[in-house]
Subunit: 239 residues, 2 copies
């Protein structure tokens, strides 16, 4: 974190403790959920007194904000590197057909949207609470600062880029038409409405399967969530 080149020892120490605090915070979130995050508990776990943490974070909200920011950034980075790898290795015609491209080889760095989908899932399963922190039920009373929405917009851009490589070919839908006039969220991305539509479907479908899986709603049902995930993705790409 941060450029360690021009950093004084004190600055490096500070950065290290801040990182350590966040690590313990994640650990705590993983077991008790984000709404129960406690500065005092983190301090105790680190062998410090409670007030010591206030040297590093002004208050609880600031810590949560940083965790959310890190989570978004991590996801965006993961997707970005997946997109790059996929672009190199499979050339321009990424995610051509759709059916079958979901759960066959290339699990980690498949092409186009299919690759991104599996990257998201792997990222979410690695640390479910991190996914739920940003996409789950919001922490009550917490409101995210603006720069966070900027990062989440980056993620959308990555989806639009990937979708543009192989735009869906199908008749225009009512939603396409609506999106043509309501595309502020896409910034100045040149993607056509069908790609905007596809990106939204991609997002909501992945979230639908993933969030129910992470929340434990499939537990005891007996089927393999990975196959449902793949099926939803395949259906999306088969357009």
């Amino acid at each position: 974190m941060a450029d360690t080149g021009t950093a004084t020892p004190r600055e490096r120490y500070r950065a290290q403790i801040r990182a350590e605090i966040k690590e313990h915070a994640w650990q705590q979130i993983a077991t008790t959920g984000a709404s129960a995050l406690s500065l005092n508990a983190i301090a105790k776990q680190m062998g410090m007194s409670g007030p010591a943490l206030y040297r590093y974070y002004a208050n609880r909200d600031e810590l949560i904000t940083e965790l959310i920011r890190d989570a978004y950034r991590s996801l965006a980075d993961t997707l970005r590197s997946t997109a790059e790898k996929g672009g190199e290795e499979s050339g321009g015609k990424a995610a051509e057909g759709g059916a079958g491209s979901g759960d066959d080889r290339g699990d980690d760095q498949g092409a186009g949207l299919a690759g991104l989908a599996h990257a998201v899932r792997a990222w979410a399963l690695r640390d479910p609470q991190r996914y739920l922190l940003i996409y789950g039920t919001p922490v009550p009373g917490y409101h995210a600062p603006d720069d966070i929405t900027a990062i989440s917009a980056q993620i959308m851009t990555l989806l639009l880029d990937a979708g543009s490589a192989a735009p869906p070919r199908r008749p225009e839908t009512p939603l396409d038409h609506h999106l043509a006039g309501h595309r502020d969220w896409a910034g100045d991305h040149p993607a056509p409405p069908a790609v905007l539509h596809q990106a939204l479907s991609f997002w909501t479908r992945i979230h639908g399967v993933l969030s129910l899986e992470l929340a434990g709603h499939f537990a005891g049902m007996g089927f393999d969530p990975a196959l449902l995930f793949a099926a939803e993705l395949d259906d999306l790409l088969a357009r």
Copy 2:
């Protein structure tokens, strides 16, 4: 609630206070989320002392359990009555084509799966926190008793019934094949694998759009979530 016929005045009073407690609990959940539910706060709001509530609920968990149970029951009831109305009014050939059946007339009691979808959405929007309580990020440290999973199974049965009326006609998918051998969750419902698959897709897609909408993730994006919802549903039914 409960059969008021053979109830003594004291029993009726008890039931009334229990209901009143739950009402205030919902109100509190609506503003602060479920994880912050406080018995003392409810008592204060009702003009009672804190310990008084222990006459009505053994502890906080019991109250939450009852709220979750009520939420599931309410959703199941809503879907059941929607299914009945739809069955009556549009005959057996419910939800035939698919495309366009999403956001045209019959918003509240449309036929088959389309009708159920809009019923779910209306139910969720009426009280977002109630939806999130059962399908959102789980309350940390809380584990639901068995009878609740029974009610959620009823909901699945309703989906399977509706789907069976107009089974999808499309080639068998890998997931279909998998579900043929992993259908414990469907109980002894005679639905074919394609219908099982459809029910799962229905559930996850609706949840995908709805949960992101309720959690506020579409806020500021500018498009109409209802249209995205309808589009996802249409796509599901066009099989």
